[in-house]
């Protein structure tokens, strides 16, 4: 390896002024620039008439922090270092017993999942004890269901690790020269070493203990009249002790050991009582149900922390032995629901079916005036195939049923205290990403110690807040053909939702805590689904094929002023009214500027230049600004479909499930910002696509030229970041073998089946044409955790 001074190298920085050509600092007399770091990458670039050519890359031997070599330059495959083959295990033993007076079930279940990212895991043990007893001439049944579970899972977020592995450069080694941790060198961005994060978070876990169950009572009061009562509980306790150790990783460090402990407990009880009356009058059958249900939920939480610990291990780090910066907090939340309902099911001659339901629901989340909502529903069914006039057709159409239903339901999925104006005494909030929203201030000038503090508004009141109501119509046909060789259904639905609950963004002058839940827009949804199943026994093979296809459309039909900013659009003349909710709104990216003439020919676009994205001038004026945005498509797919094929032959069974969608789109800004751009985040790792970026020698590329900054604001939402997420997948393939009767009897088993299956085996994605998909898995586009390819081996045995 030649010495830097001898070779006369150029120190490379992707410094850009106009965005297209990479600038380098030239040397004088072949001497290195005195300001540069000796140990960073060395690019040997030759300049020919202003066009740079890369001759050679000299890899440094060491990486430095502030001039001191601390790491040997590495070649780390970070994704590989943090990944492993995940392993999921599930074991279940269930024993049941019963007499004619009582039954009992006991089961123990262990589920363990070691995720595909190292250091992530989830373990759960569940015990279940269910029993019931018949009393008083079998007229009364008392039962209970109880399930206890204990969960332990890792704290480190897989998302943090995946982001970390993509961010940190591959030249950074895992460990430093002195055996410590590798990390960013001085000229790199401050990015964490994900292998260190896994190791330093090993001792952190969160534990949940959950008790879930109910006590129930059924009383056969009279013939056909049954009373049922159930009191259920669902409570959890959650605990997390988060220990952060000191570290040095490149130039990043924390010299204080910190402990944060969190706990909460709470849950809900639910009481429901129903009275059911079944009346059988020959051909007419009535089934009448009236009842009520009430639920109360409450959760109380607490957190505490201290910094500074003598020893950094889990045996030592507890709150009491922390040195200082004592902090704590805690609060609670609660809500209640109450419902009254009644239902009448009527069937005549098994041919005509009708059902009417009325619900009256109340929620504590709404203002005192609007707690209650009334939600009726009815449905009708007609088994045409049971009609007399249909006898003739029965050998072709073996089953035909028409259905129609109409109903209203309510939605109250908002914050528990959504209708109140809220002020909170808030000492501090975590200032990591936004400024502290607390109210403490060192008014005495002491510089330390307990500070006086006050209150901050967190929400504006809305006493008129009420239920969001959805009215739905569906119509369907169920049919069977050729003696149920084919069965299927066609369904159509039409839904209107009114008073959609949102918390819209607001004008800045209102300040913090201007959030206010309101009932706002109205929306229509409609769609159809078609399902067809084929069943036939051919010789010893029993074949079952079923496929379905569905499509839906969505439209915002009413858009009041005060919620206009909760939806896509510019809040003025371009709004989502009349468009689907998941519409995409932004700029149109219109290719790359190939040369200076094209740049000059284009209207005013701050940051434009050769090699940069050109944005389309949609309104004909002489500048590109946010008036040049338009509707770019919809996230929703045109169609969704699935195909299930299964067959059994003797003791073997095979099944395969394909599914897919056509015409869906996604905003992939979060991932494409890293694969296609350098200038959004300086000094870290980038995707391989960037190597194919535009340059005068590579003018057909659709990826803009590499630039150290982003003066052209190419992160703005545009067609560049919209990709077609249509796909076809082999989601599941399973082969099973049921042990023959002879073997079962010998082993005193009732049933035993062993199976092997694979999930997510094959994916076809749209990688060509407009909005081609450039990611890994269109089912989980952008930065969602990918669906892993999994292979399962299972055994079911019953005795």
């Amino acid at each position: 390896m030649l010495n830097a001074e001898e070779y006369g190298l150029v120190n490379f920085r992707a410094g850009v002024n106009d965005g297209s050509i990479l600038n380098t600092t030239t040397l004088s007399n072949g001497q290195p620039n005195t300001g540069m770091n000796k140990y960073t990458y060395m690019y040997d670039v030759a300049w020919n008439n202003g066009i740079p050519t890369l001759n050679n890359i000299i890899m440094p031997e060491f990486l430095d922090v502030a001039g001191t070599p601390v790491m040997r330059a590495g070649d780390t495959d970070w994704v590989k270092e943090i990944s492993r083959t995940g392993l999921m295990q599930n074991y279940n033993v269930t024993v049941t017993s019963g007499t004619d007076k009582g039954r009992a079930l006991f089961s123990v279940d262990y589920y363990g999942n070691n995720g595909t990212v190292k250091g992530t895991y989830f373990d759960r043990v569940t015990a279940r004890i269910n029993s019931d007893y018949k009393l008083i001439n079998d007229r009364v049944t008392i039962g209970e269901n109880l399930s206890l579970s204990k969960t332990r899972s890792s704290v480190i977020s897989d998302r943090t690790l995946q982001e970390g592995a993509k961010n940190i450069q591959s030249i950074v080694p895992i460990h430093s020269l002195d055996g410590g941790w590798g990390g960013p060198a001085s000229n790199m961005s401050d990015r964490q070493n994900p292998v260190r994060l896994i190791e330093d978070n090993k001792q952190n876990h969160e534990d949940v203990f959950r008790i879930f169950g109910d006590v129930n009572l059924t009383v056969d009061i009279l013939k056909g009249l049954t009373f049922r009562s159930k009191f259920g509980i669902d409570y959890t306790g959650w605990w997390k002790r988060d220990m952060q150790k000191t570290y040095q990783s490149g130039f990043m460090s924390d010299k204080t050991a910190r402990l944060n402990t969190y706990a909460n407990y709470g849950g809900n009880w639910i009481l429901s009582n129903t009275l059911q009356y079944k009346l059988d009058l020959g051909k007419s059958n009535f089934d009448i149900l009236v009842g009520q249900e009430m639920l109360k939920y409450r959760l109380e939480d607490m957190s505490a922390g201290r910094d500074g610990f003598l020893l950094e291990n889990e045996d030592y780090m507890y709150l009491s032995v922390g040195d200082g910066n004592l902090r704590n907090g805690g609060g609670a939340t609660a809500y209640a629901l109450s419902s009254f309902f009644g239902k009448i099911n009527y069937s005549f001659d098994n041919k005509y079916l009708a059902s009417v339901t009325v619900r009256r629901d109340g929620s504590s989340r709404f203002g005192a005036n609007n707690r209650w909502g009334t939600f009726p529903a009815f449905s009708l069914g007609w088994r045409v195939s049971e009609e007399g006039f249909f006898e003739g057709a029965k050998n072709v159409v073996s089953d035909l049923k028409l259905r129609y239903g109409w109903g209203m339901t309510g939605n109250q999925e908002i914050d528990n205290y959504a209708s109140y104006g809220l002020y909170q005494a808030r000492y501090f909030t975590d200032p990591a990403f936004n400024r502290d929203q607390g109210t403490a201030y060192d008014i005495t000038g002491a510089g330390q110690g307990e500070l006086p503090s006050g209150f901050v508004r967190t929400q504006l009141q809305n006493p008129d807040l009420k239920w969001e109501a959805t009215t739905q119509n569906n119509a369907g046909i169920d049919f069977g053909l050729f003696n149920q060789m084919f069965t299927g259904s066609v369904d159509y639905f039409f839904k209107k939702t009114n008073d959609i609950l949102v918390k819209p963004p607001y004008i800045a002058t209102i300040g913090f805590g201007g959030d206010r839940w309101v009932n706002g827009a109205s929306m229509e949804n409609s769609g159809f689904e078609f399902l067809l199943t084929f069943n036939k026994k051919i010789g010893e093979v029993e074949l079952n094929i079923s496929g379905n296809i569905a499509s839906y459309r969505n439209k915002i039909t009413k858009l009041p002023e005060d919620v206009i900013n909760s939806y896509a659009g510019n809040g003025n003349d371009q709004t989502i009214l009349g468009r689907p909710w998941k519409s995409l709104f932004g700029y149109v990216a219109d290719g790359i500027f190939q040369n200076q003439e094209e740049v000059d020919a284009h209207v005013g676009q701050p940051g434009k230049g050769v090699g940069r994205i050109r944005y389309k001038n949609l309104n004909g004026d002489n500048v590109i600004n946010d008036e040049d945005r338009t509707w770019l498509g919809v996230e929703d797919p045109d169609f969704l479909y699935g195909l299930n094929l299964s067959a059994t032959w003797r003791n073997f069974d095979v099944s395969m499930f394909w599914n897919g969608q056509v015409g869906s789109h996604a905003n992939v800004n979060s991932i494409k910002a890293f694969t296609d751009f350098y200038g959004f985040f300086g000094g870290q790792n980038y995707g391989a696509r960037l190597l194919d970026a535009w340059s005068p020698a590579n003018p057909n590329s659709t990826i803009p030229a590499v630039s150290a900054n982003n003066v052209n604001d190419e992160g703005r939402f545009s067609t560049y970041f919209i990709e077609n997420t249509s796909f076809l997948k082999l989601a599941n393939f399973e082969i099973g073998y049921t042990l023959p009767k002879a073997w079962l009897q010998a082993a005193r088993m009732q049933n035993a089946r062993i199976y092997v299956s694979g999930q997510n085996l094959l994916t076809v994605k749209k990688g060509w044409g407009d909005n081609a998909f450039t990611g890994v898995d269109p089912e989980t586009p952008d930065f969602a955790y990918p669906v892993p390819r999994a292979f399962t081996l299972g055994v079911n045995v019953s005795f």
């Binding site: 204080t256 009520q292 205290y417 002020y423 000038g445 510089g447 500070l451």
Partner: protein
Amino acid sequence: MKTFKYMTLAAALLLPMAACDSFLDVNPQGVASTDDLNTVENIEKMVIAAYSALGNDNFSDGMHAYWPYGDLRAGDAYKGGAGTGDMGDFHLFETFVYLRDDNGYLDKKWYNEYVCIARTNDALSRINAMDATVFPLKTTREAEVRFLRAHFYFDLKILFKQMPWIDENDKTEDYINISNVEYTDKQLWDMIIAEFRFAAENLPEKQAEIGRINKSIAQAYLAKALLYAAYEQDEKNNVVNIDKTKLQEVVTLCQGLSGKYSLTSDFAENFLCETENGRESVFAVQFSTGDGTLYGRLDWGAMLNYPMNPEYGCCGFHSPSQNMVNAFQTDDNGLPLFDTYNNNDLKNAEDLLKYNIDPRLNHTVAIPGAPYKYNPEFIFEASWTRDPNTYGNFMSMKEVVLPDCPCFAFSLPFMSSSKNRDIIRYDDVLLWEAEALIELGRQNEALPIINSLRERAAKSTARLVDVQGDPTGKFKIATYQPGVNCPAWTQDFARKALRWERRLELSQEGSRFFDLVRWGIADKEVNSYFATEKTRRTYMGEAKFTKNKDEYFPIPKNQINFSKKLYKQNYGW
């Protein structure tokens, strides 16, 4: 009989149904309603919450500190960091030409000023509603909160020129109808001045707590507002008239403060934890550590400005420009090299010993080879900087502290301290007095003021030594002696000297850009800075200050949209 038993059993279990409506009354936990806060004790707490807004900050969330807006746009400092894309919005501020009206950072800055203003309005409406007989400190607290509100409006005024004026009498649902051009530029200044005047007239001389506003602080800020407002601008931001009456009041106010404040004996005392809240500090944001918050209430304005060496680690922002460093050079008489300073570049510790320099350079700028923050054993190296090829080798030192300082703290992975940040300091007050006197034609009275600052600077060399105790620079600074070491003290020359003195004394504290705009010379100064500096820094190739536009930021487009186009954009944008 049995049936009856069953029915009673059933009925008994149905009793809870009667719970009905009161069951759904679930009170919010741990929160108060607005009515709960209208007691004297709680109103005092809401006043604290208003003060707290001064210190609530985050570099990515519309930073409070002035350096990104005041130093980067005036040629006093480069952005710094890992290349031009790091905190890219600051690069757009620094180069002017790529900045658009829909810039997200400016939207956050605008919003966060109104978060602060909303807290003051909330406290004020409660104070107003409270009876003075129950609340003896009513007028004092009212004055304090109106001062704070005026400070936040002052920030908006110098950044954006036209902003909506919301006070405590406006109802929240009406805010959307209040336009940013409801009041003219002149009226907005008069309203800000009126608030400071009220504060100055209604505050006590001293308060029980150092962090509270008192009469003198209000008088100082009143002087500042009057000074800015005296230079009247037209709608294109040209300075068209200077209001002498306002300047006279500036002089009177500043002279009145001479008994309350004084210059520290060593310039360094203004930038060290141990001497904060000293006799020269007029209005400072109080920070703290070990106070029960997650990392302490630290100065987020400095959070990015530490060097890359292991004792610190991140992030290398706020690099003084070569032009700035050169400006500290002096001639053999000890006076600034007004015309030739930029012909010679000071680069490292050897240069400091080779050429005459003003000692304030060593207090302000970290230079390779020289001690960092007065510690002779802690030598600043070029390798401590983040990206020297793009941003050079200097770093700003006023806002940082040494790693062993008790007020130093990490806020992973960044670091800062609880050292207070001065918004107004007495040297600044003296410079206003001098400026007003010069513009009134009374420049002879300004001469001793300017000289007092230079005398103090000359005496501030005790800490500027190496391990042997020898000075780390060839310090040569003298007072102006017209006819002896400098030309006659005409208004023009005095003005030149005053403006230069301001630049050196307040370097890296975010004041320069607003001074240039006030004087109406921003276009000339910034473009001539680019003309020479772009030969040193390649990223400045396209940078250009556009007259009648770049004096103010654009009103955030997002807010114009929210207001349904009620807000009007600034001239030129």
